[in-house]
């Protein structure tokens, strides 16, 4: 075991206190946190500088594609995603930005083009908001052996802190004719998106903190744009530049990508809002359940506001019951739902369906395909379910999402 100077000093200090138990106990996490058969007969480690998960708990992001990693939805409770389990989608890898030299440029149709340091951005009045962030391409489901993480783990929820974008725009004197802005990152893609100002300004933020601490590098450290309810790629990370304009810039990510070719031969552009959806995260593959009480648990969310209701079916969609929603229900946020079920041991399919405050009900895959056609890839939010065999084994309901 490698000892740090700090540890040594502590050890000496505790020795001088004369408490034998103190000298036996250390602050090292690695040596002392393996579970013991009897934890009452030996001092545990002393408080240390940085905590760690129980070594028994090993939630991991999965790496199904080289460009993204997925949040282990089935391992999480409540609604907040631990920062190190937030999904990732990078367009040219992760940028490692030095906060000391970081600058944000705000220019274009403004009266006063400005640059801001990180400290500048932190000086503005701060605000905190809990919301989800979800990738536009967040659906997979072609095999029964699919976990919630693999079905739609490109969504995560965070308590973000930063400054309202409207405050920053006002500081530079945004001109009334400006209807769009370009957000540009400083990754190797120099990632850009055009964003319509009117549609986002009530919610949009520049954020520098994630669940109470500085943003993780993979979430855009030191500063990212945050557009609640809107497809994740538009919340540009490692933000270096904002340019106000009276028209969109038609970057690659809003033309050849993140557009929706439809059944009628048109392609939907700037389809920014994430529609309502839900997923049961437990029971789910690869669990095996036992007869008797089973609490069906999951999350539901809508980019258009509040989740109004989540319906749960235990008979493959023939009949529906209303699930309980964990309060407080927040707009544009993962909402935890639960439904108490008695499983009688017979084959079943459990299904969830979200309804949001606009009255939008999460559609079946067949309805989505009818409305949009075969070749659309983004904004697929079909109703999903899990089949339960007589032996209690839970598998992803592939038939339900097959077209």
């Amino acid at each position: 075991m490698r000892k740090t100077p700090g540890l040594t000093r502590r050890d000496v200090l505790t020795t001088t206190l004369g408490a034998a138990a103190f000298t036996l106990a250390t602050r090292s996490a690695a040596a002392q946190e393996t579970p013991l058969a009897d934890t009452t007969k030996k001092w545990g480690r002393l408080p240390n500088a940085l905590g760690a998960r129980s070594p028994v708990e090993t939630p991991k992001r999965t790496l199904n594609l080289p460009t993204s990693s997925r949040t282990p939805l089935q391992d999480l409770h409540g609604t907040i995603t631990p920062a190190d389990l937030h999904y990732e989608r990078h367009h040219s890898g992760l940028a490692v930005v030095d906060p000391r030299t970081y600058r944000l440029l705000l220019h274009g149709m403004v009266d006063r083009p400005l640059t801001f340091t990180l400290d500048d951005i932190k000086r503005f009045p701060a605000t905190t908001r809990v919301c989800f962030l979800e990738c536009a391409g967040n659906f997979f489901g072609t095999r029964e052996e699919t976990t919630p993480q693999d079905v739609c783990g490109l969504t995560s929820q965070t308590e973000w802190t930063g400054v309202m974008l409207s405050t920053i725009f006002n500081e530079a004197g945004a001109q009334p004719r400006a209807t769009w802005f370009l957000a540009e990152g400083q990754d190797a893609a120099v990632m850009t998106r055009s964003v319509p100002i009117k549609e986002v300004l009530r919610d949009a933020m520049l954020v520098y903190a994630q669940n109470g601490e500085a943003l993780r590098p993979e979430q855009g450290y030191p500063v990212r744009l945050l557009l609640p309810g809107i497809e994740g790629n538009a919340s540009v990370k490692w933000l270096r530049r904002l340019e106000l304009s009276d028209q969109p810039f038609m970057t690659r990510e809003e033309t050849s990508k993140y557009t929706d070719p439809l059944a009628d031969g048109t392609a939907r552009q700037f389809s920014l809002v994430m529609d309502a959806r839900s997923i049961i995260t437990s029971p789910a593959y690869p669990q095996t359940i036992e007869k008797g009480f089973v609490e069906i648990r999951g999350i539901a969310w809508s980019g258009r506001g509040l989740i109004r209701r989540v319906d749960v079916s235990t008979d493959g969609g023939k009949t529906w019951k209303t699930a309980a929603l964990q309060q407080p229900v927040l707009p544009k946020a993962h909402t935890r739902f639960r439904y108490a079920w008695q499983w009688d041991g017979r084959p079943a399919e459990i299904v969830s369906r979200a309804v949001d405050e606009t009255g939008y009900g999460q559609p079946d895959m067949t309805a989505l395909r009818q409305a949009r056609g075969r070749r659309t890839r983004y904004h697929l939010n079909p109703v999903t379910g899990w089949t339960i065999a007589g032996d209690g084994r839970v598998r992803f309901g592939v038939e339900r999402v097959r077209v």
Binding site: S92, L105, L106, H107, P113, L114, T115, F116, D120, F124, P125, T167, N170, E171, A172, L182, E184, A188, A189, V190, T192, R240, R241, E243, S245, Q247, F249, M250, T251, R252, T255, S256, T259, P261, L262, A263, D264, G265, T266, A267, R268, Q269, F270, S271, L272, V273, D275, R304, D356, T358, Y360, G361, P363, A367, L368, R372, G373, R374, R375, T376
Partner: protein, 194 residues
Amino acid sequence: MTRLLTIAAALLVATALIAAQSSPKRYGIGTPATPDQIAALDIDVRPDGMGLPPGSGSAREGAPIYAQKCAPCHGANGEGGAGDALVGAAPRDGAPFGPEYERWRNGRPDVPFTIGNYWPYATTIFDYVRRAMPASAPGTLTADETYALTAWLLAKNEIISESEAMNAETLPRVRMPARARFVPDNRKGGSEVR
């Protein structure tokens, strides 16, 4: 008591509304950006041509650059590989989706989405190639190289000729086949699935 509370709450809301509506104040934070600082970062190109730099290049000039810097990922003829398919003019008067496409395809395998059959603006090619390509050395192409590669991609997709030079004048005038297909988002919430 309840009534008093209601009045107090209403007053609070009213005060908050007035505060939100009154002219927002400035904080005096930030440093004026100089034209040089802006120019150093302002690399975007709009469909109207704003942002295109001086320089020029044709498909002929682009061919050797493409072969050296792009073909390893996108294939010798832009057919795709580790990187996206870039070239594919078919279906010539359509796009790779929708009812006309399904009739044209007539059960044959799907064609990929390409610059020729899907990208609505030619300026996007210049903007993206300059900022993010080649993947092995992003942001290293000169303006002439970028124009030449843009021209090569447009010519391969049968949108311009081999000899036509792309520059700040000509590129914004290129009309992309799929342009008219793009429509704004019509999803609005509510009961209809769109």
